[in-house]
């Protein structure tokens, strides 16, 4: 049964966590993630979940507790943002390398400094090489759905998953969204039965041993190859969810792409602004479309190439910078198109750093610059130049 509810993105994450009912949650407060754990700790206090909720003294400890609990055999979840994720960083790698299916909600926030609590993607983009799967969410409803997908996906491929949403824009804004009933979610996620776990006294194991030049490389190769199984597993997992919620899910979402000549690529909440702008421009007869990236890790190279071949020009919106190189999404898109025959022109726009607004006029400007050919290879959107103060 589907119910329509009004929720913020943070509440949507907490609601999914309540229905998943993980054995252990360990977290530390940080803006703008805090409302997720605020809501979830209420569920714990009121006895709505059976979760062992561990209050820790830092994010480094939060992820360490998650690693221990997951290795012990439990379903484990957590949440963080920006500087909290940075403090976890060492254990973020260890969680993935130990092949532990932890699900973490990350509410995207700018990494300091100068200090800033608002949205950009510098935190999760800094984690793109950690061997975590990354799912990005356009709105509160997608936060909820991505959590359910993430849990199943993690347990299928033994890799942890970050479910990302935009700080404040998604996490603190109330939206109308659909949720499933508890029983349906319980049946959908099933029972977690790890093959090996520390609390299995009948089959004792060692987790996290020393691993030098003898086997370390083989274990890394296993991680690389595990990532190649993620997209096929995603397609299997979302089949049932599609039936339950009456929606289609893919690693990418296209919007008016079939006959589009000019395309904008984005992820998280900006994808909604892009779609809105496309609706407006389509009424004026413009051949514009969009590609939204739900899954950034592993990156769907082939799927991107399939959708973009033959387009006139493509603008990639990056809400983070890779200082000394190009934006991380732009980098992937260019790479995806290398082997294709009819390559579109691809340009980059860096936007929205530290929560700088992105609105319909900005998106219109990008489409205009694509159409009249004035877009440079690398552009900014919504930032002052040195001469403007």
């Amino acid at each position: 049964m589907i119910k329509k509810k009004a929720m913020t993105g943070a509440e949507a994450a907490a609601e999914a966590m309540r229905q998943i009912n993980p054995e252990v949650v360990a977290a530390y407060p940080i803006t703008p993630q805090t409302p997720i754990m605020h809501k979830f700790s209420q569920f714990v206090a009121e006895g709505d979940v059976d979760t062992e909720y561990i209050n820790v003294e830092s994010e480094h400890s939060a992820m360490s507790a998650c690693v221990g609990a997951s290795a012990a055999g439990g379903r484990v979840m957590t949440a963080t943002s920006a500087n909290g994720l940075a403090l976890m960083f060492e254990i973020v790698y260890i969680a993935a390398s130990s092949r532990l299916p932890i699900v973490m909600n990350v509410v995207n926030r700018a990494l300091s400094g100068p200090i800033n609590i608002h949205c950009d993607h510098s935190d999760t983009m800094a984690c793109r090489d950690t061997s975590w799967i990354q799912l990005y969410s356009e709105n509160a409803e997608e936060v909820y759905e991505n959590n359910l997908i993430a849990l199943k996906l993690a347990e299928k491929v033994n890799l942890p998953v970050m479910v990302c949403q935009d700080g404040f824009i998604t996490s603190h804004a109330v939206e109308s969204m659909k949720v499933l009933d508890d029983k349906t979610v319980k049946d959908y996620i099933g029972v977690y039965k790890p093959k090996y776990y520390l609390l299995n006294i009948d089959k004792p194991i060692t987790s996290g041993p020393l691993d030098f030049f003898d086997y370390y490389f083989e274990h890394k190769r296993q991680q690389i190859e595990a990532m190649t199984k993620v997209i096929p597993e995603f397609h299997k997992i979302v089949k049932d969810l599609s039936k339950l919620l009456g929606k289609d899910y893919d690693v990418l979402e296209e919007y008016h792409l079939d006959d589009a000549e000019y395309v904008i690529i984005s992820l998280n909440s900006t994808a909604g602004t892009v779609k809105h702008t496309i609706d407006k421009l389509r009424k004026e007869g413009k051949k514009v479309g969009a590609l939204k990236i739900r899954m950034f890790r592993p990156f769907p190279l082939q799927e991107v190439a399939k959708w973009l071949t033959g387009k006139k020009s493509v603008a990639v919106l990056d809400r983070s910078a890779s200082f000394g190189s190009v934006g991380p999404v732009y980098h992937e898109i260019r790479s995806a198109l290398y082997e294709t025959e009819a390559k579109p022109k691809v340009v980059s726009y860096i936007y929205g750093l530290g929560g700088r607004d992105i609105n319909v006029e900005h998106i219109e400007k990008v489409f205009e610059e694509l159409e009249n050919g004035t877009a440079k290879a690398e552009n900014y959107l919504g930032v002052r130049d040195e001469n403007e103060r």
């Binding site: 033994n158 090996y196 194991i205 060692t206 274990h219 296993q222």
Partner: protein, 83 residues
């Protein structure tokens, strides 16, 4: 190969011969030894075994040559020598 570096057989430290790291080894003088067993309890590798209340063997497969036994021996019955 199990994923994530897991070791799925218990009791496997016996296969990891840490004695290979040692550059020195203990030489035990049974005539000087008073069998106080201090070295047996203090050895971080458990490489010094006891039989019938007396010091029996130094297992060089696991002795890392740290020299704690020689340092702690009250009657100087253990000497560390080059391997």
């Amino acid at each position: 190969m199990p994923e994530g570096g897991l070791i799925v057989e218990a009791g496997n430290s016996i296969e990891f011969k840490t004695g290979a790291w040692a550059s020195v080894k203990p030489v035990h003088d049974k005539n000087k030894c008073v069998n106080c067993l201090k070295c047996h309890f203090i050895c971080p590798e458990g490489a010094i075994s006891v039989k019938d209340g007396k010091i029996d063997k130094f297992d060089l497969d696991f002795c890392k040559g740290c020299g704690v036994c020689a340092e702690e021996c009250p009657v100087k019955a253990i000497k560390m020598v080059k391997k």
